[in-house]
Symmetry: C2
Subunit: 445 residues, 2 copies
């Protein structure tokens, strides 16, 4: 089987690699040395491993208090391997496909590598690794110094490293339970922690190609279309997220209501931004208003940019749909972004991704509504969070039934590898049809 | 202004006509002779008139007990004018546009009329009127005879007429309150009432062009692409609706749970079918499970077929999106239905309609979640029901705040005239761009 080279498509390598990682993680996490007391059940070990590898961050047990240092390091390893592995794979895949789909010739890495020899792939992978680890270590140092003030040097530095890696990978796992805290709520108005964590997950969520484009090009106008589009959309989503949360939660006594005006700003920015599939929270998610939870579900559904550590249907997928609607309203025959024409296949691909995602989320929500005794909105929020590999929860994760846990495991996995493998499948299977049927219209709307 | 012929686009006539009808209805319904006791407030009169003209069926006061015979006849008139007026206008508009968009030459009416002279339009309108009134009267007779058994000849016949018109127009208004009943719940296992009402709203929801195609062609293969597509989709949606409701409600003690197996069938069929935007119910909507309410929301969102008395984004809009996804999965470069190629504009139009509709529903849901003290799912269901002009409610309509009532009024109106005028605007504004931009791709998914 393994020797059958034909069967080793990138999609299969990705799915196979992820499944192996999850399997190894499940075994390690269910060992007694991973848990502080006794050992974790197989389903919960599988849940935690899947959540870590898929950089989701939903947890059935508290990472900081339930797991030993060994267990926490296993989780950190799974996050790093899952987040980085996926980003590297996806970048390689898209660049390889790039020959066909041309992610613009002047794209830095492509230039540098000239052609995709095995040597080139190894070099690119090395680049990504060096880039990622540098970013993570620098952020870990600053975060570590900040945490050291509160918890001493040793624990502070460890916490800095853990949360730096978790943030860049958009994993959302935290070990704040060690010091009796929940996620980053104790730091909701600490600009150092808030902005370093945000910078990490926003960068990670932009993807390697965009980061390199920013690093090498400086000027926005010189960047590849994809980079500019992803940056603009990310900016718009961050702004809308901030405004939405700020306005909807302004006078909610359980969240921002009692805070003075200037203290409402940072938590609103962070809560809006964390839907870029980071999954950390500085405000209690379960106390947010229904309107806010639904609003955040929409943002989580859109998620981060492709070939990144983030999830969701992707900013650019949503962006393509958006410009298509604008084109239709303006009466244009073609879809444009920044004076570049989008091929029809891209619109069709974006349309397919959103439709399939909506169907998966719809079905999972209906099934979980039957298996779980929870409020509808909490279930819906949980499903979108799992599918978008976000990791935010109103608090129902640890209350899920066994069937519910298994469904969420499947959704996390589908949400992480699904959209990319779909995009891949769509890219590769496009064939030219020999039969050309006569055209006929139907009424819509 | 009125003399400015250029300003009188079909969309403006439609919107203007609807607004005038609603205004007249509001005045008449707020008169003391319309109410049994006192008189109805202006907001509630506006709500009822909008609900009737837009054939939605959401009510803030019970139609059978609150309104006098005069008030009920006003409502019936608004339903008939709104349902029939919209269907006629839409049919005319689509046929006029048909010259450009070719709803297939062999489409019966188009053949018969040869060209769209004023005389032709009058004739077509006459056809539609005769057709509709014949169907309504025949059904009214049978329904009336059935109701006469229970409530005597005079009241029975009146009830037959009212519900026949209300059902064909997909209005969902009922006067069962007169005999102390709620909608058609007393007839949930009465095949005569269930099947006549269903036949009426399914026919009305298919639209005039499809009805004529069925009437004239008999053979499915000879019908226009649009008719075949609408029929297949309607069939699939009816089947899925039945199966979904049956499975999800099977053991719900508040609905089907206590019934013997064979008695669960008819209510399941009807509950699944009423989401084709009819709005009658034979099972208490408020007792349905969350999973079922969400499932029905999806079906209500899809709704009925274009240029019909039904609402929603339309079966064919959904169908076009569906076949687009299938095309993508199969790797086809073009989108096909029944061996006919769909032009790109139709896909883009369907995409635009679903995206805009999702945005409107999302925004309305978020706003109502703040203004109303109701469960999230009940609000979401209400918004989708209003937008799809369905009229089903978990029971919160009469509890809505004034702001909430106004928002639902706006949503009912938008949901009724919005998709058509959007489709219209999209059809007319399509211009050929002189600038052809270079093509470039972005990553999605
Ligand atoms: K996450
Ligand atoms: K209705």
């Amino acid at each position: 089987m393994i020797k059958d080279k034909k069967a080793l498509t990138p999609a299969r390598i990705l799915v196979g690699g992820f499944l192996s990682l999850i399997l190894i993680g499940t075994i390690l996490l269910s060992l007694p040395i991973s848990s502080v007391e006794g050992s974790i059940g197989i389903i919960d070990a599988l849940f935690t491993a899947t959540s870590a590898v898929c950089v989701t961050g939903l947890v059935v047990v508290d990472t900081g208090t339930h797991f030993t240092l060994f267990g926490q390091l296993v989780i950190l390893g799974l996050i790093q391997a899952g987040g980085l592995g996926f980003m590297t794979m996806a970048t390689l895949i898209f660049l390889l496909l790039g020959k066909k789909i041309t992610l613009k010739e002047r794209l830095v890495i492509q230039e540098a590598l000239n052609q995709f020899s095995l040597e080139g792939l190894v070099r690119l992978t090395k680049y990504i690794l060096i880039f990622t680890i540098s970013i993570e270590l620098i952020a870990a140092l600053f975060l570590g110094l900040r945490f050291s003030v509160d918890y001493g040097y040793k624990l502070g530095m460890y916490m800095g490293l853990f949360h730096s890696i978790s943030a860049f990978a958009n994993a959302g796992f935290d070990i704040m339970g060690i010091v009796g805290q929940s996620s980053l709520m104790a730091y909701q108005n600490d600009p150092v922690v808030v902005f370093i964590i945000m910078a990490l997950f926003v960068l990670g969520g932009l993807g390697f190609t965009v980061i390199v484009d920013i690093y090498k090009r400086h000027s926005f106008g010189k960047m590849a279309l994809h980079s500019r589009f992803a940056l603009v959309l990310t900016g718009i989503l961050l702004l809308i997220g901030f405004l939405g949360v700020f306005l909807l939660e302004y006078n909610n006594p359980d969240t921002l209501g009692e805070m003075p005006f200037y203290k409402k700003i940072l938590p609103s920015i962070f809560t809006g931004a964390t839907t870029r599939t980071a999954g950390f929270n500085t405000v209690d998610t379960g106390s947010l208003r229904p309107a806010t939870l639904f609003f955040m579900s929409v943002l989580m559904f859109i998620g981060a940019s492709p070939a990144s550590t983030g999830g969701g249907i992707k900013t650019t997928t949503f962006g393509v749909l958006l410009v298509s609607v604008v084109a239709m309203i303006k009466g244009d025959r073609e879809v444009h972004i920044f004076n570049r024409r989008l091929p029809f296949e891209i619109v069709l691909k974006a349309l397919s991704i959103i439709m399939i995602s909506l169907v998966i989320i719809g079905l999972a929500t209906i099934i979980l509504s039957r298996t779980e005794q929870q409020e509808f909105l909490n279930i819906f929020f949980e499903v979108v969070s799992a599918f978008g590999t976000v990791g935010l929860s109103t608090g129902i994760t640890s209350e899920l039934t066994t069937v519910g846990r298994i469904i969420i495991i499947v959704i996390m996995f589908t949400g992480r590898v699904g959209p990319l493998t779909l995009a891949l499948a769509f890219s590769q299977r496009m064939k030219s049809s020999n039969i050309r049927y006569p055209e006929e219209k139907v009424l819509v709307g």
